[in-house]
Symmetry: C2
Subunit: 334 residues, 2 copies
């Protein structure tokens, strides 16, 4: 099937571009609350499932052994912007495990936050793997290995004990088989598996409610999602959608973006998980979709729903900051 | 109609994302040589038509009066990367007209070339409007105004004599009415008009051949396109697709990217113009499409066609530079 147009990008009175995609909203029992488009399509969740991938870090006792608090737990679930607070926290996590950035196997890039890039360059500095948006997740992997006495070298490779723990957590939570035939390599070099989009909606309903998870796993899920909702800056960065959405209703909304137009989320009070994929991989489209879905799910709270609807209708601006168009959800999202 | 999928983005063995779009290839008499998808859809050409917008700069005599050569002509048609050579040349153009960057009304942003941004920050510098990717085009507008004795203030606004000259050129070359009802504001604050995609293919066939244009216009078109093909770096920047495509066959291929998934081009030896729009606005998709179209049009030159096909199949890489997937044209482009 052809997924419907979910988002329009306008300029003046003309629709300039469109984003198609699919949406799955599920409860923890596997019942669909709302579906749009083909939710059986195989999707790499990319960074949207970092909180699930972080379960072994908590369940193994590593997080407690190193005395990590909510900021560290949030950073392990993060695609951060490489701002100094993110980089410093990742460095301190590795130091507690007796490691430094040379142990990270995620590769490096300049911070996605432009001010951070400019400040780093002005200071005469250069980026390293700590600035990689995934450095928190990888620090969590490394701490888990150190805590469990596993040789951390090659920890990003499929088959390494760390990635086997991650795969087991992903399979258990999403209920979908993660097999080598649908395995790809993520931007940060770890395995990522394409499974039906709806599996992630089910998975995040389970993460948010604990239903269908073993008690220790349910407790770890609650801690990780609670940490993200309490410290959204450490999951994301200045001015980004994850922060705006989670700050719109502290403790009531969990969201996490992933590359290639993926967004996952949960509304614990409703017991629902959300998974979104823009077919074209557009992050700007996925942001509008997830904000619209949340506005719809939470419409009984009219003030909150209005805030979310504003996030779902961001302006398109010129280089002098004039509004020249808008992104907007289509009727398929109404 | 729903445009077909033109490009697939793979990861491992799985298609992760797709780009839909439309393609028009026309000759200068308005005959379609090849069409895919809805080529009647209204499209803002954005920066892909800067060479047409530059016609008054040459026709007015401004380019000659200030002694500009091929590099300056190329820069006036450019979406440059803000590298020092681009910025310096735009500055020198304005200086010849007795102006500086404070006359530019395009707004500013950090260079799109990351090395240029880092070098600028390391030097303690800060960007201004000269670093805007459109500063060459705007310098051309300002030089035209100065040469003709027109007050340049407000030169970006619809109705200003400069923009009326640009609109007349766009209408004449594309054959499509440019009316206020389909007017938007471009990122650099000038008017942009949504007209049928196929109009741009016809327009670039005319630009490349001179057929259907008045002699002075045909001569200006030939100079501008020749300058772009001779100096592709000044139209674009280090490592970018415009440079790679034009350098693949010097003097035989003209291409120009635009925002929101637009690409225009021409193959002068075939007398054909090309216009591409990715429905979702993805530049990566439009690059694959235009490279594939050129490979097809020039297939009788097997060595060149192979080079273009390689450009049409770029790798997806992880942060450590490993190939983890590919972008590839679909059968709709075969």
């Amino acid at each position: 099937m052809t997924d419907p147009v979910l988002v329009e990008v306008t300029r003046g009175e003309v629709v300039e571009s469109v984003h198609r995609g699919a949406i799955a909203v599920y409860d923890a029992d596997g019942k669909a609350a709302w579906e749009v488009g083909d939710t059986t399509q195989l999707v790499f969740p990319r960074s949207a499932v970092k909180s699930i991938q972080a379960l072994p870090f908590v369940e193994s006792g590593a997080a407690d052994a190193y005395g990590f608090g909510q900021k560290e737990l949030a950073l392990v679930c993060a695609s951060h912007s490489g701002e100094p607070q993110h980089v410093d926290l990742a460095r301190s996590m590795l130091a507690k495990a007796g490691l430094d950035e040379t142990a990270l196997e995620c590769g490096w890039h300049w911070p996605s936050n432009q001010e951070a890039t400019v400040a780093l360059a002005r200071s005469g500095g250069a980026p390293n793997a700590l600035h990689n948006n995934c450095s928190g997740k990888h620090s969590g992997f490394l701490c888990t290995c150190r805590h469990l006495g596993i040789d951390h070298r090659g920890y990003v490779k499929a088959g390494h004990p760390e990635q086997e723990m991650v795969r087991e957590a992903m399979e258990t939570v999403t209920g979908a088989a993660h097999d080598a035939g649908h395995r790809g390599t993520d931007g940060c070099s770890i395995p990522t598996y394409a499974v039906p989009l709806r599996s992630f909606a089910l998975g995040f309903a389970r993460m948010a409610t604990g239903r269908g998870l073993a008690p220790r796993r349910a407790a770890a899920a609650k801690r990780l999602m609670g940490a993200c909702m309490a410290e959204p800056f450490f999951v994301s960065g200045t001015g980004r959608a994850d922060v705006g959405l989670m700050q719109a209703a502290p403790g009531r909304i969990f969201v996490k973006t992933g590359a290639e137009g993926v967004y996952c989320g949960a509304v614990p009070e409703l017991g629902l998980g959300v998974a979104v994929k823009c077919d074209d991989g557009a992050g700007r489209g996925a942001e509008v979709v997830v904000a619209s879905v949340l506005a719809k799910l939470l419409k009984s709270d009219t003030a909150l729903s209005s805030r979310l609807a504003r996030i779902a209708n961001p302006p398109v601006e010129s280089r002098v900051g004039a509004k020249v168009g808008t992104l907007r959800p289509t009727a398929a999202l109404a």
